[in-house]
């Protein structure tokens, strides 16, 4: 359904001459935002909003808890969080020779 409506939209724009059909494989099917009228932009926005209102959502608290668990599991292994001993750090200071920086 979603794909159909998108194709429909593209067809409408192609027919009204505001989008140029793909003649050269390399070019975009140009629906240039500057060529769209206010009405077209609004219509696209309204269609998009209608789809979004019907999305299934999760409770924020549940999502945040999952976040926290994810991070806690992994932050022990995170080199930037726990720090790396100087000798194991691949970016330790370059030794030998003259370092002029």
């Amino acid at each position: 359904m979603i794909i159909l409506s998108y194709v429909f939209q593209l067809n409408h724009l192609l027919k009204s001459g505001r989008a140029t059909p793909r003649t050269d494989r390399q070019k975009m099917p140009v629906i240039n935002i500057e060529d769209l009228t206010e009405k077209d932009k609004l219509k696209m926005e309204v269609d998009q909003l209608k789809k979004e209102v019907t999305l299934e959502r999760m409770l924020v608290s549940k999502c945040c808890e999952e976040f926290r668990d994810y991070v806690e599991e992994r932050s022990g292994e995170d080199p930037l969080v726990k720090g790396i001993p100087e000798d194991k750090n691949p970016f330790k200071e370059l030794k030998g020779g003259c370092v002029i920086s």
Partner: protein, 394 residues
């Protein structure tokens, strides 16, 4: 129309072509002649057009209101409240370990290679350089035919780089170690947009590239043939950044633009799945959280925000009253505990993602920080700046 000087011209109406008494109508300094019936019809159409516009606007507003309501219903707690019992982070001692000098002008973009050691950077002077960050040696350099190379990316195989900017194109250069070969000769033009290229990224393979452009669209291209595989329309202004979801979570990517919106797209259908409009200015950078269930954005409104995709809302704001300059680029540490953000006030702020507080502020650059990426294994991160240098911090 001045009725007192109505001249009775008889002729063919420019709209219905019937032989009628005509009235002159001036449209953009061009004179057209319409019969009185057509004039009435056009006036009624114009009214209808305005009515439709107004009704669409009010429909959009009411839908937005409904969306807010739905999102608010699930907003029972803040992230930092859930994270209260998490141990606070210790003091951070991160310093510049390497300074990569060689660009002749502002560094605009950089990307790490999967080997965790090489990186590619591009600059305003048109040069794209591949560096070995351990030794600071330059391994490859190519001069693009345009200035302001705003986007560059390293291929997953490490055998090619992609870059583009004001030339409206994304070009792929295979990397060769043969000293006799001219890199520029093997260049392949992949993407063609109608405005500047602002961001590009290879997908999981060397074969496909995702691009974002100033023309308000994103597009997926096949590298070999240069064919457009999918285009993504929906932003109302320039798209400035994009990021692909981590591979385990599927075929989606997020983009941010000058219309203050961050949009999540399904790569196969070209449809926008979710959109978020809470920033107050252009979104300069978006980055997925390592788990793929959330993403962060950095904007000119001086804040960074975290959006949870399953709760479909913003769950955290990283801001301080003392920070008034825009954030140009953001990236997460390996575990997602830290958020690094480069700002236009020359600093890099390190945020605790869970608690929402700033952990550290890094000084060193002498001009705006324009790009920032954490290395693939999380051992370091690199920042590029308008001061012509790149710094690797660890």
């Amino acid at each position: 129309m001045d009725q007192t000087f109505l001249v009775n011209v008889f002729g063919s109406c420019d709209r219905c072509f019937k032989q009628r008494a005509l009235r002159p109508v001036f449209k953009k300094s061009e004179q057209l002649n319409y019969c009185s019936l057509c004039v009435e019809i056009m006036a009624a159409d114009g009214l209808h057009e305005n009515e439709t516009l107004a009704s669409l606007k009010s429909e959009a507003e009411s839908l937005k209101g409904k969306l807010e309501e739905e999102r608010a219903k699930l907003h029972d707690v803040e992230l930092h409240q859930v994270a209260e019992r998490v141990e606070a982070l210790g003091q951070f001692v991160m310093k510049t370990r390497r300074t990569l000098k060689g660009h002749g002008n502002k560094v605009l973009c950089m990307d790490w290679c999967k080997d965790k050691r090489r990186l590619v950077s591009s600059s305003q002077d048109g040069k794209v350089i591949v560096w070995d960050s351990f030794t600071t040696n330059k391994e490859h350099a190519v001069t693009m035919p345009c200035t302001w190379v705003m986007a560059c990316a390293y291929a997953p195989s490490g055998c090619a780089i992609a870059c583009g900017g004001l030339d409206n194109k994304c070009s792929v250069y295979p990397l060769t170690f043969d000293k006799n070969e001219n890199m520029a000769a093997k260049k392949k033009s992949v993407a063609m947009h109608t405005n500047y290229l602002s961001a590009c990224s290879f997908t999981n393979s060397d074969m496909q590239i995702l691009t974002a452009s100033g023309d308000g669209t994103c597009a997926l291209w096949d590298v070999e043939s240069g064919q457009l595989l999918q285009s993504f329309h929906g932003h109302g202004a320039d798209v400035l950044c994009l990021d692909l979801a981590p591979s385990e979570t599927g075929n989606t990517f997020v983009s941010g633009g000058c219309d203050k919106k961050a949009m999540v797209w399904d790569m196969r259908s070209g449809q926008c799945v979710q959109a978020f409009e809470t920033h107050e200015s252009d979104i300069n950078s978006v980055r997925y959280y390592p788990s793929g269930d959330a993403f962060a954005s950095g904007s000119d409104d001086a804040t960074c925000r975290l959006y949870d995709l399953r709760a479909d809302r913003e769950v955290a704001i990283y801001s301080k009253e003392s920070i008034i300059f825009g954030a140009s680029s953001v990236d997460f540490s390996l575990s997602g505990r830290l958020l690094f953000a480069g700002y236009n006030d020359y600093t890099i702020n390190v945020w605790d993602v869970l608690k929402g507080s700033r952990v550290s502020i890094l000084f060193g650059h002498e001009n705006r920080v324009s790009t920032l990426r954490v290395s693939p294994d999380g051992t370091a991160f690199c920042s590029g700046s308008w001061d012509h240098t790149l710094r690797v911090w660890a």
